[in-house]
């Protein structure tokens, strides 16, 4: 080991260009090049937990696929744990764990435990390590009652937990999660998030996750990277992203009766519908203070807070992004 530790993940000017052929007639095809990832450079240190977000088609999955060796970059340099993923895909496989939220590695018709036994043998995990890791996953992900059940009988949330366990049995140094909470109910999401947090804190596993759920990022990641059109648009803390995006949260208040628009700067009323009013306020402001002020002056019956949609934040970010004003935004 060198004195200065190398980053676990290194990308330097990575590009991925796809040739897209489009039918323009019988047997005639037009060729077009699509740049899915464009001169992407970043590093992730060991033990970091990073959110990787962006709209659909931004290049998130393409990046993950290059990091796992599924796809070969068209240009640039890419290293994970010092390994060039596409050249030594099978060697890298021992050191990474991957969970694709929309695809399972589990065996549909067989009891859950059978999938784990296959991992045990396929990855040649030493018996003691396997048992230890399995026990830990079973306990923390509450899989005990599910091990004997065929995977086809598991709910989506149970299967996701099962998939996460499957990705961790071989002690990967880095875990990639592609939409790990997609389609899960609130309780399942909380379980998954709690587990990931613990995994990162206790074992120091590096985690890179893509998501559309801003709460995933808020609860898990100290660092967030935003990608769009294959380019890194932002790399920094989540709070900074809100500033950059000038994003707003929405406070919905139900008053006792119809009243003129509530006055509570910096919040402003954006919509009124009978006794219900919608107030937009900067995402960085405390909702509690705002609610307290409104409750003191108005007859408040009920309220709810809507978090800014991640797509929304990003959309605003582009609209309002001025170089120099951003914390660490990359242009």
């Amino acid at each position: 080991m060198s004195v200065t530790e190398r980053p676990l993940i290194e990308l330097d000017g990575v590009e991925k260009v796809f040739d897209v052929r489009r039918k323009t007639g019988f047997l005639k095809r037009e060729r077009r090049q699509v740049r899915a990832v464009d001169s992407l450079s970043f590093t992730v240190a060991r033990g970091e937990m990073v959110g990787y977000i962006g709209p659909n088609g931004a290049g998130k999955s393409t990046t993950i696929k290059m990091l796992t060796g599924i796809l070969t970059p068209s240009a640039g340099r890419l290293r994970v744990a010092g390994i060039d993923p596409s050249r030594e895909r099978t060697r890298l496989a021992h050191r990474i764990g991957v969970v694709f939220g929309q695809r399972t590695t589990l065996w549909w018709d067989l009891p859950l435990i059978d999938s784990y036994r296959l991992m045990h043998r396929m990855y040649r995990i030493p018996d003691a390590r396997y048992r230890e890791n399995l026990d830990r996953c079973v306990e923390l992900l509450e899989l005990g009652d599910l091990l004997a059940a065929p995977v086809r009988q598991l709910s989506l949330g149970q299967r996701m937990r099962g998939d996460i366990a499957a990705a961790l049995l071989h002690d990967p140094e880095v875990l990639y999660l592609d939409e790990p909470t997609i389609g899960l109910d609130v309780i399942s999401k909380a379980k998954v998030r709690g587990f990931l947090k613990e995994l990162n804190a206790e074992l120091g596993t590096t985690v890179l996750l893509t998501t559309h759920d801003l709460q995933d990022i808020e609860q898990l990641c100290s660092r967030v990277m935003v990608i769009d059109h294959g380019r890194l648009m932002y790399d920094g803390a989540l709070a900074g992203l809100h500033e950059v995006g000038e994003s707003e949260r929405i406070l919905v208040v139900d008053l006792e009766r119809e009243l003129p628009p509530v006055e509570a700067p910096p919040a402003r009323v954006v919509k009124v519908e009978g006794p219900r009013q919608w107030l937009a306020f900067p995402a960085g402001e405390s909702a509690a203070a705002l609610v307290a002020r409104i409750a003191a002056e108005y007859p408040l019956v009920d309220l709810s807070v809507r978090e800014p949609d991640i797509e929304d934040v990003i959309a605003r970010m582009y609209a309002g992004a001025v170089p120099g004003r951003t914390e660490k935004a990359v242009s």
Binding site: S61, V98, Q102
Partner: protein, 273 residues
């Protein structure tokens, strides 16, 4: 890891994954028994078709029934072995389309082994069994003075034939990575190949036989070596040593298929999400 290590690793992975598929199929026992029986019956009907033809004629292209059965047994048994190992290659296209091929690429074992073992089904043993039975009967009833050399040539033909068909399966799979839904093209060559080899070369046109000898060397699965065993004239006036060329042809085919597979895998572009 050297080539040898990769092959051993691949076989180990094949065994592991095939085992999972067998266990999966056992969870639907009735379905398993029914498809097994159906498969045996279907492959058996295949040879019954030839028997029916011989109820009307005494020879086909100048070949007698036991001689045709010899060709049939060689073709079906070697094809059956390749089919058992790599017969699921045609699901590769659908795996690529639905994105589940990515999952295979994440595992620390050779992809080819995983694809070969994909949807592994014991019912495929039906084809080999039936082919071997016909071959046994043909060897017993054909009018040949079995020398040690001729006897040894039979297993050599089967192994080489299986290798040639395997190469076809692998090349076809690589082609599916380019073309995504080309399973039918692959089947035309593999299933089509084994069917045409059940008939003697004399019933086909000369240009066709040339193609099947020099371009897609299926003729070396059974035609050429069988002509030697049966003491018949070689197709296309090939030289005498051609009967012993199958292992060499198989080796070249496998090497070529390996290169094509690598190129195919390198060009893989995954799905959108």
């Amino acid at each position: 890891m050297g080539e040898r290590g990769t092959v051993l690793e691949g076989l180990r992975a094949f065994r592991l994954i095939a085992g999972m598929w067998v266990r999966s199929s056992m969870t639907y026992r009735t379905s398993f028994v029914v498809t097994m029986a159906g498969n045996l019956l279907m492959t058996a009907m295949d040879f019954v078709g030839i028997l029916l033809m011989f109820a009307q004629v005494d020879s086909l292209g100048g070949w007698s029934l036991p001689e045709i059965a010899f060709l049939y047994g060689l073709s079906v048994t070697s094809f059956g072995a390749a089919d058992l190992l790599l017969g699921s290659m045609d699901v590769l296209g659908s795996r690529i389309r639905d994105g589940s091929f990515d999952i295979l690429l994440l595992r620390p074992v050779p992809v080819l082994a995983q694809i070969g073992a994909d949807h592994f089904a014991l019912r495929r043993l039906g084809r080999i069994t039936q082919g071997a039975l016909v071959l046994g009967w043909a060897m017993w009833s054909v009018d040949v003075d079995w020398s040690v050399g001729k006897l040894l040539l039979v297993p050599l033909m089967l192994v080489s034939g299986a290798a040639i068909f395997s190469a076809l399966f692998v090349a076809g799979a690589a082609f599916q990575i380019f073309a995504q839904d080309a399973a039918e093209v692959q089947n035309a060559f593999t299933y089509g190949g084994t069917t045409l080899l059940q008939y003697p070369p004399t019933v086909f046109g000369k240009d066709f036989v040339r193609g099947v000898t020099f371009v897609l060397p299926l003729a070396f699965v059974n035609w050429v070596p069988a002509c030697y065993v049966l003491g018949r004239a070689y197709p296309l006036d090939l030289p005498g040593w051609a009967a012993f060329a199958p292992p060499l042809v198989a080796l070249v085919c496998c090497a070529a298929a390996g290169l094509v597979w690598r190129a195919g895998l390198g060009s893989y572009r995954s799905t959108g999400s």
